[in-house]
């Protein structure tokens, strides 16, 4: 697995359990499709200057069962547009997890993360050792390795490129079987 390590600051900590991600852009804005507009609305209730503070590569941190409820895609589309490179949470709600992994958006399940970081700490996520290093504090914590197919989907950049890669591999296997058979 050749996943690129994530390196960035903790741009925000959502400490509410069962956090409904739709709140990030507000439910009344959930049908907006223009990502620029979504990005302007994002995080208004939490930190109105968020867009100005965030840098490409920054990460979000969440509490337990992050993404519970009926998650939609626009909030994290807006976050990616602002440069957010991934989400690390104590644990994730499966629907949200699947949805964002299928977008190729890295999600890291890490029990203990809330006690491990302060806002704006610099983190490094290492997919080979399954650890997160808090560069600011000089500490390390282990995270739960994702299922193989999820890791491959992140690496491929989302569901469709992942499935295309699989289809190509299958064709290759069939091709070599055919050669052997002949």
């Amino acid at each position: 697995m050749a996943l690129t390590p994530l390196r960035g600051r903790v741009a925000y900590i959502f400490d509410e359990v069962n956090f409904d991600v739709d709140q990030i852009v507000g439910v009344k804005n959930i049908k907006i499709t223009d990502v620029e507009e979504l990005a302007k609305l994002a995080m208004q209730p939490y930190d109105p200057d968020f867009a100005a503070k965030v840098k490409p590569g920054d990460l979000l941190v969440g509490a337990g069962n992050f993404g519970y409820g009926h998650p939609h895609y626009p909030p994290m589309k807006a976050m990616r547009h602002l440069g957010i490179a991934g989400v690390i949470a104590e644990s994730f709600s499966p629907g949200y997890w699947r949805g964002e992994i299928s977008m190729g958006f890295p999600q890291v399940s890490c029990p203990g993360i809330l006690g491990f970081v302060q806002r704006w700490d610099e983190l490094e996520v290492d997919w080979t050792t399954h650890t997160i290093r808090n560069v600011t504090q000089g500490t390390t914590i282990a995270f739960e390795p994702p299922p193989q197919s999820d890791a491959e989907m992140i690496e491929a950049g989302g569901l469709v490129p992942y499935l295309k890669r699989q289809a190509a591999e299958q064709r290759e296997r069939k091709g070599s079987e055919h050669v052997q058979g002949a």
Binding site: V17, N18, D20, D22, G26, V27, K28, I30, G64, N65, Y68, G69, H70, S91, F92, S93, P94, G95, R98, G99, I101, S102, P147, Q148, S149, L159, V160, L163, K164, Q166, A167, Q170
Partner: protein
Amino acid sequence: MGYTITEKILARAAGLPAVRAGQDIKAKPDFVLAYDFPGYTDVYFKTMKEDFGIERVAEPERFGIFIDHMVPTATAKEEELHINTRTWCAENNVPLFERRGIGHQVACEVGYATPGAFAVHFDGHVSQLGTFGTLAIGLRRNVLEAFVSDTVSLRVPHTVRVNLHGSLRPGVMARDVFHHLVRVLGPSSCRFQVLEIGGPAAAAMSTEGLQTITGLAMFTGALTAIVNPDPVRLDYALPRARKRLDPVSSDPDAEYSAVHEVDLSALEPIVVVPPTPADTRDLTDFLGLDIQAGYLGSCASGRLEDMRVAARILGGRQVKGGVSLHIIPTSQELMAAAAREGLISTLVEAGAFVSSPSCDYCFGRIATMTANQRAVSTGTLNVRGRMGSPDSEIYLCNAAVVAASAIEGRIADPRPYL
């Protein structure tokens, strides 16, 4: 150590002698289900052709497509989506179930709930097929994998076993049981796992009640829910089954990540207060809150026992002026049965608006609520904006509470009416 029903079903679907929870596998779904919805089926059909060069599906009998949202259509664009779906199904020879009712219920009626089968959908409420010993998982967009290849990649889930005990008191329904489980076990208790329902109270429960409980499993964090099918469920499911499979059940020594014994004999009616399905409370603490809307329907509720209790409460009474009560049977089969029993006339005479099956009431496409309105609802969900304005409120409850509240124009206790 024995195997869970989930492990047995997935072992067969993966073509392996055995699998264990935690194992990453590729499994071939017996059934691939979907309802047409913008951004889902239209995208799959296009992606299959354009990105994967698939003009026709190889085994059309494995598929099942439902038209249950945007029924009836309100715009030309919605009708175009349905036309696209009809065309794809006809070209591919894939079974299409249009206007028969909410797909998850219709799927049970037409035999996709084959005991022992593995089914996938994008929508997680498909879990209700678990009532009949079918492992049915909602994969969100990842269900595309099942449209473009034979198999889906997944990690075999662990199982949380819940044994239900005791009998329900009057006015308490399966709907209360499910939300009670969320309350006592927690909204993340079954995260990424299967919720396996058993015990004497599950065996005694109606099939409709089990469909309610299994259909809502996602709000415990579960990937799906399943029941080891007993003769009652098999009598329903086997004659309808679309595939010849041996029903399977968990071994007595199967390994569970947790086993919970839940006594239902003291359970009281509940409400789930907005804006999250995680917040189960006692009905009695919310009595008297004024309401403007009532909804009895959805894939979770809206079956015969729900309509029966509503008819019993509403019979000879009237819905209060200013309250919109919508009663939408889950499927045409159920609606026809309700008509034969005389339930429909009772509900209509009481002032309920009764309409043919549709998903649209549950997500506010019709009967849309405006700011500062409040509903009692048997819909699936109470998040902000689910039934219209983000500033409206949805209190989830059982069908009896909806009926009693519609009479009084405020959240009401159904028990005095029973």
